[in-house]
């Protein structure tokens, strides 16, 4: 670990802290329909949108109608994405310069579910599978709306807390449109141009072919992906003289991929690809964009519920868990892989053939170990899932940090919206536990928390591990599951566990060695993603719908305060105990076991 590495980590946290208040208070104004400076441009667009789509902007919805609107919109837009993938090869459709064929049905279903649920799990290699049209109007489009829907849900939940003795929690269509036009659009416009200025490509041209400076020989690969032998039994060699350079409208997708905590790469290598993330500044900008809205929503929570100190208490818990994660990941990666560095493996007399600059397998030189560990933490604290280094090649403990972040439900800053309502479920659980300890009916910001609310909160907490562990168990017990593992030993188990955790948590990052483009994984992961999104959304909206009816009870001496360090500590405790204890057995079979075996010098 270096001082400069820490400087970069703390600078990011400071920048996120600085934007929390201005952006959070702006978000609150947008959703309270107060005047903002954007009204001048966006208000006419908003009105036109409502006219075209038949939205009555005065109408307010109860939670069931709100949930219905979310599900209908997700269903319809998911269907459209599926169709677009299936017909992208039609000759009259524009922007398919590589003449890519239609996407196969199981893969198209998996991808449609993936992008609709804000997961952006990718079973495919984008540059050889998706046309520019599919990327723009299908995938990037879902980056926008799944993010806007997430913000809308968080705001609806906050309204449930802040409104008293009412029934309605807002209008989904209005929240969706305002979130898109007032918050995402202006930030994406500026961000996309900043990215282009650094070298993120933005064009619609066919892939370029460069003549290599130094053509080279390489073994010809057979259909099985292994070097093929010629008729004389010797490996066949081919000379590579050209380099095909994939292009595309990347910047416009890259910015919403980060800002909406989506994470689906335009290219297979995601934010490790130099065309998605060319410089250390774009790397900083991308991490900042991932964290900005989730962090700001804590301020929005404080502002809309009239308890700013509660907002900051939640932020404090998030920042603490963030630092704990990044410290562990950075330490583990900087320490490196002893199997690669130990001179012992070269036999006696070897004079230490390498310098240990940390575990660089799967990492880019321009980012180094610090920025790779930081990015991995940021992307899994939130529901983003973009990667600038390959998590599969992290050291066991370094790779366990992103995995644990996902298992905690991505509440450390969290996805746009999704993280906020996930954290609020933990908040409800925390005040319930505190209430039990002092022997009173728990209250949260003046609302009594009763059996119904706790039941719904527990549904959220329980469905999550149920989906992950059941699917993982099925996968590791059958050849259709185990044959997809790329790495033998405990690491293969971790690959499968990570895949289902990432899918259910709607993250989308992966231990990408897993060959997940099979009927079993495409289908089971798609189901995990859909359950992970909608089986969370329904109980969360039910809590909001129940809270919004309740009347305000004045705080008394017996009320457990939801502000200050005591509450922050309790919240951290609940998040860790619930998350960690649920998954500890699975973790000990995967990364923990692998770590011990690695220290003992064992390979597989």
């Amino acid at each position: 670990m270096t001082a400069n590495g820490w400087l970069q980590i703390l600078f990011l946290l400071l920048a996120v802290f600085a934007v929390t208040r201005p952006l959070g208070s702006y978000i609150a104004r947008v959703f309270s329909r107060e005047r903002t400076w954007m009204d001048l441009i966006m208000r006419p667009v908003e009105r036109a949108l409502y006219r075209l789509t038949g939205v009555d902007e005065i109408h307010e919805m109860e939670w069931k109608e709100y949930a219905l609107a979310v599900i209908l919109f997700s269903g319809v837009s998911m269907l459209l994405l599926y169709l677009l993938e299936r017909v992208q090869h039609w000759a009259w459709l524009p922007w398919n310069p590589q003449k890519l064929p239609a996407v196969a049905p199981a893969l198209a279903f998996n991808t449609a579910a993936s992008f609709t649920t804000n997961t952006n799990w990718q079973s495919y290699t984008p540059e050889t599978t998706m046309s520019y049209l599919t990327q723009m109007a299908g995938l990037a489009y879902h980056n926008w709306i799944s993010a806007a829907a997430g913000i809308a849900l968080a705001i609806a939940f906050i309204r449930g807390i802040s409104r008293r003795e009412q029934k309605a929690i807002g209008n989904f269509w209005v929240d969706l449109v305002r979130g898109t036009l007032w918050i995402l659009a202006p930030l994406c416009l500026i961000g996309a141009l900043l990215l282009v200025s650094q070298g993120v490509v933005q064009n619609l041209r066919p892939y370029d072919t460069a003549e290599l400076v130094d053509p080279y020989q390489t073994p010809t690969l057979g259909p099985d992906g292994k070097p093929a032998n010629g008729t004389d039994g010797k490996p066949m060699m081919q000379t590579i003289r050209q380099q095909v350079i994939a292009q595309g409208p990347v910047a416009s997708q890259e910015i919403i991929k980060e800002l909406g905590t989506n994470g689906g790469g335009f290219f297979n290598a995601n934010s490790a690809h130099p065309f998605e993330n060319p410089t250390p500044f774009t790397n900083f900008l991308e991490m900042f964009a991932i964290l900005a809205i989730p962090s700001a929503l804590t301020y929005t929570l404080g502002k809309m519920t009239g308890s700013q100190r509660h907002g900051w208490a939640v932020w404090g818990a998030m920042a603490f868990l963030f630092l704990a994660g990044v410290t562990t990941a950075y330490w583990a990666e900087a320490r490196g892989n002893p199997l690669l560095t130990s001179a012992a493996m070269h036999g006696p007399g070897f004079s230490g053939g390498q310098t240990n600059t940390g575990n660089m397998e799967g990492k880019e030189v321009r980012f180094g170990v610090a920025n790779s560990a930081l990015f991995a933490t940021v992307t899994t604290d939130t529901s983003c899932g973009a990667v600038n280094s390959m998590h599969d090649s992290f050291t066991p403990l370094g790779g366990m940090v992103p995995l644990i972040n996902l298992m905690l439900g991505e509440v450390i800053f969290g996805g746009v919206g999704a993280g906020m309502y996930g954290m609020l479920v933990f908040v409800i659980l925390s005040v319930f536990i505190a209430g039990l300890m002092v022997g009173r009916t728990p209250e949260y910001l003046g609302k009594k928390i009763e059996a119904y609310d706790v039941k719904m909160a527990m549904l959220v907490i329980l469905i999550f591990p149920l989906v992950i562990l059941v699917f993982t168990a099925i996968s590791v017990l059958h050849p259709f599951g185990t044959s997809a593992m790329a790495n033998p030993g405990p690491h293969g188990f971790t690959e499968v566990l990570y895949a289902f955790t990432s899918a259910t948590a709607n993250n989308g990052s992966g231990f990408n060695g897993l060959s997940a483009n099979t009927p079993w994984y495409n289908t089971s992961l798609a189901i995990s993603m859909l359950l992970g999104r909608f089986m969370m959304v329904l109980p969360v909206l039910a809590i909001a719908g129940n809270l919004v009816r309740k009347k305000q009870v004045p705080a008394t001496l017996g009320t457990f305060p939801v502000t200050g360090p005591l509450f922050t500590a309790l919240l951290i405790g609940v998040v860790l105990i619930v998350g960690a204890l649920t998954f500890f057995p699975a973790l000990s079979l995967g990364p923990i076991l692998e770590h011990l075996l690695m220290r003992a010098g064992k390979t597989f």
Binding site: N4, L49, L52, G54, E65, L68, A69, T125, E127, T128, M136, A137, Y141, W144, I145, W173, T180, A192, L193, G199, V200, V201, Q202, N203, Y207, L212, V213, D214, Y216, T218, Q238, I240, Q243, I245, A246, P249, Q253, F267, H273, P274, L339, M345, G353, Q354, T357, G362, K363, E364, G368, S372, P396, A486, N487, G489, T494, F511, G513, M598, K602, T603
Partner: protein, 201 residues
């Protein structure tokens, strides 16, 4: 609940916002990018003698001993910029350990006087990493100087002029762009008498 009304809105909203966010927005950004930053928006392509030879952002494989070598790559057959990706080998995977052992021995033979820098032994996440660390460039200086009949100091000077430092003095890591360095090397050689032109293939 107004099922029908919301269903109609869901359809219309999907269509209208697809046009707005999925088509008009990327086209607007493409237009602005092509006007404001034409070089960056098209991939910072490099041409030599009218021929496209690569992008300064995308790494290439170099195998001739007269060129600086890039990191190992797992993108396609190596530095395939139409098929990016990492090795995804786990830390305890025997084939990773074997690969690193083999490369260590090979590089050690090439330059016995120094320890092999870690980035020359590991493949990048994208498989297209255009950079190596300054230490990895320094490790290869002696070989290049010998192969090209140049003094180590003049090679070192060239490396220094192609070394990028941390952005704004603190972001990222110091690095050397391999393709640009090799192009600089070829150019420096073409004007020097004691340095033959690279052999034609």
């Amino acid at each position: 609940m107004q099922m029908k009304k919301n269903l109609v809105t869901a359809f219309l909203m999907t269509l209208v916002t697809t046009v707005l966010l999925g088509v008009l927005f990327p086209l607007a950004i493409t237009g602005l990018a092509q006007v404001l930053f034409p070089r960056q928006a098209n991939g910072e392509l490099i041409t030599r003698n009218g021929k496209l030879i690569g992008s300064s952002l995308i790494g290439q494989q170099f195998s001739s001993p007269r060129h600086f070598h890039s990191r190992p790559s797992s993108a396609g057959a190596g530095y395939d910029a139409g098929n990016s990706g990492g090795s995804n080998l786990g830390p305890t995977n025997a084939s990773l350990v074997a690969r690193v052992q083999g490369d260590t021995k090979r590089l050690q033979a090439e330059n016995p006087s120094a320890a092999v820098p870690m980035d020359l032994l590991t493949s990048s996440g994208s498989g297209l990493d255009p950079h190596i660390s300054p230490e990895a460039a320094e490790f290869q200086v002696a070989r290049i100087a010998k192969q090209r009949g140049m003094s180590e100091d003049s090679v070192r000077k060239l490396v220094r002029s192609h070394t990028e430092f941390r952005q704004f003095a603190f972001l990222g890591e110091p690095r050397v762009n391999v393709l640009e360095l090799n192009l600089g090397l070829d150019q420096a050689c073409s004007v020097r008498v004691d340095c033959e032109l690279p052999p034609q293939k």
